[in-house]
């Protein structure tokens, strides 16, 4: 790995981690949400660096375009509880640690390819589409049903008010 490959990696890693740390520590929730967006963008940049163009762009569409807007709206439309105390949320820390442990376990079980992955098989949109429509068609449909159920649930909740 020469300097030209290392430099972008280090820059993106620093930005992504800085965004994540800021998201976890800032007390202003909107600032935290915007820092989280920075970290999402950093992850997308990593996908580009690996040649996974499609995943990177979908990361931007889904996380920056939808999830971040959802988070921001949630922050705006809710108020802090009147008796909410300051201090660490230990349940949150526990969940975060559990996720970290799970990821580390998954990483431990993965054998990383020795060669540079770019040369052999760059992930094209065509390949992703064909896999989704053949090998993974049932998971795709299941996800579709879950999302439709969520959509209908949201509509039902919103319609309640009209009576």
């Amino acid at each position: 790995m020469n300097l030209f490959h290392l430099l972008p990696f280090v820059v993106i890693a620093v930005i992504t981690l800085a965004g994540a740390v800021a998201a976890a520590t800032l007390s202003n929730l909107v600032h935290a949400a915007l820092s989280l967006v920075l970290s999402f963008l950093g992850v997308a940049a990593f996908y580009f660096l690996l040649g996974a163009e499609f995943i990177g762009l979908v990361q931007v569409i889904v996380y920056v375009g939808a999830v971040a807007v959802l988070i921001v709206f949630t922050i705006l439309l809710t108020r802090p509880l009147p008796g909410a105390r300051k201090g660490r949320n230990w349940a949150g820390v526990f969940v975060a640690m559990a996720v970290l442990a799970g990821l580390l376990w998954a990483l431990h079980g993965t054998t990383l390819p020795a060669s540079h992955p770019l040369a052999s098989n760059a992930l094209t949109v065509l390949a992703v589409g064909q896999k989704l429509m053949t090998a993974y068609v049932w998971p795709l449909q299941a996800v579709g049903i879950v999302l439709t159920a969520a959509l209908i649930g949201a509509v039902v909740l919103a319609m309640e008010e009209k009576r």
């Binding site: 030209f4 931007v60 920056v64 807007v69």
Partner: protein, 395 residues
């Protein structure tokens, strides 16, 4: 000669880069990228200056008055005067504003718009950044603008800004669905997410006269109209410019901006309009292809920019003609009419594809689109509630 004119910018760039014969390959690549960026910025900043005066001229013509005519010949130097005014104006940041976010919002607004301009093919071999999933890139950077609008609205710490931003985000999120779904049939038929390949798929003529543009197929025409309407919303243009409805929200999320920051927002809005019109030209109007075979001697970039100007003129024309509609009407249009119609276009395109594109396929897809249109308008027309409006939230 003809070929030379067509490729004049490509040749010019090649000559410029040949000055770097001594440099290593990566330097040439970086310089080439910067030349592309500079070209796109120069062209669209000029176009921005031009359209800011032409929009006022055209609106004035529609409203039977003169418009700007004092600075320079026919008022053509008006953008220079405007630019100087914007630059020297005091930059006011409200005391209650969130300084950092308030400063970053205009930048976060204009950057995606410029990025989106990079993937559009402006002529034969004239795409600034030719990437495989260009269409996806276009919509990915487009979806980032919602967050910038929020940043502007929230950081100003002003209720008008916040309400304007909420409206803007609500309608942008709603219309993103029809906007992306109407692109699906084009991607399906062209079989590619690359703008260059989509333009190639529209090459050729029937009998040397009728171009094979997607807008001339029934599904393409319907999808183009839906895309154009959704793009009016995405670029906050009349009749969907509710986020900055002056009479109720001052200027929406831009209320607390002045001077050059306001100019940046203005520029981002116009760049967004150029980008989405350029995408409409690429997807439906044949990109840089000439409308008939014998007109091919005119350079491809002239055709692209002529089509772009026609679309931009239509934007201005609509602004001069239609009144603003209400937010609930805007939302209803998106979810009850535009989205079902967009999905109909997908189905009609699939039928067209399996009928191998002949007369039969043309008629079948026309039948599907018009049947669904007739059915939808029947249902929506019957449901139209023309009773006295009850204000639930403003009593």
């Amino acid at each position: 000669m003809i070929n030379g004119l067509d490729q004049i910018f490509v040749i010019a760039k090649g000559l410029l880069l040949s000055l770097l014969w001594w440099a290593p390959a990566w330097v040439v690549q970086v310089v080439s990228a910067f030349v592309n960026i500079a070209a796109v910025l120069a062209v669209f900043l000029t176009l921005f200056a031009l359209i800011s005066v032409f929009e006022r001229k055209i609106l004035a013509r529609i409203q039977n008055r003169y418009g700007p005519n004092r600075v320079g010949p026919f008022g053509l130097l008006q953008p220079v005067a405007d630019g100087i005014k914007m630059l020297v104006k005091e930059d006011i940041v409200p005391r209650g504003a969130d300084k950092v976010v308030h400063f970053l919002a205009p930048i976060a607004m204009v950057a995606p718009a410029i990025l989106a301009l990079g993937v559009i093919p402006y002529g034969r071999n004239m795409t600034a950044f030719s990437i495989d999933a260009g269409i996806l890139f276009f919509f990915a950077v487009g979806s980032a603008t919602e967050l910038s609008v929020f940043m502007a609205g929230w950081s100003s710490n002003n209720k008008y800004s916040m309400l304007g931003a909420m409206r803007a985000i609500a309608q942008m999120v709603s219309y993103e669905m029809p906007l992306i779904v109407t692109v699906l049939p084009v991607v399906m038929i062209a079989g590619s997410l690359s703008p260059d390949r989509i333009v190639d798929a529209q090459a050729g003529y029937i009998l040397g006269l009728i171009p094979k543009w997607f807008v001339l197929t029934p599904w393409g025409a319907a999808a183009f109209l839906l895309f154009f309407t959704a793009s009016l919303v995405e670029s906050n243009r009349t009749p969907f410019d509710l986020p900055e409805g002056e009479s109720e929200l001052v200027a929406g999320h831009m209320t607390e901006y002045s001077g050059f920051k306001y100019a940046t927002f203005f520029m981002a809005e116009y760049f967004g309009m150029f980008a989405v019109s350029g995408m409409a030209v690429t997807l439906f109007l044949g990109g840089w292809h000439a409308p008939t075979a014998f007109l091919q001697f005119i350079p491809s970039w002239i055709w692209f920019f002529s089509k772009l100007s026609v679309l931009l003129f239509t934007f201005i024309w609509i602004r001069g003609t239609l009144p603003r509609i209400r937010i609930d009407q805007t939302m209803k249009l998106a979810w009850t009419f535009m989205l079902p119609m967009a999905f109909t276009c997908v189905i009609a395109a699939a039928v067209w594809h399996y009928a191998a594109g002949g007369i039969l396929g043309w008629l079948e897809s026309l039948a599907i689109v018009s049947l669904v249109y007739a059915g939808l308008s029947q249902i929506l027309g019957a449901r139209r509630n023309l009773s006295v409006r009850i204000y639930r939230f403003a009593e």
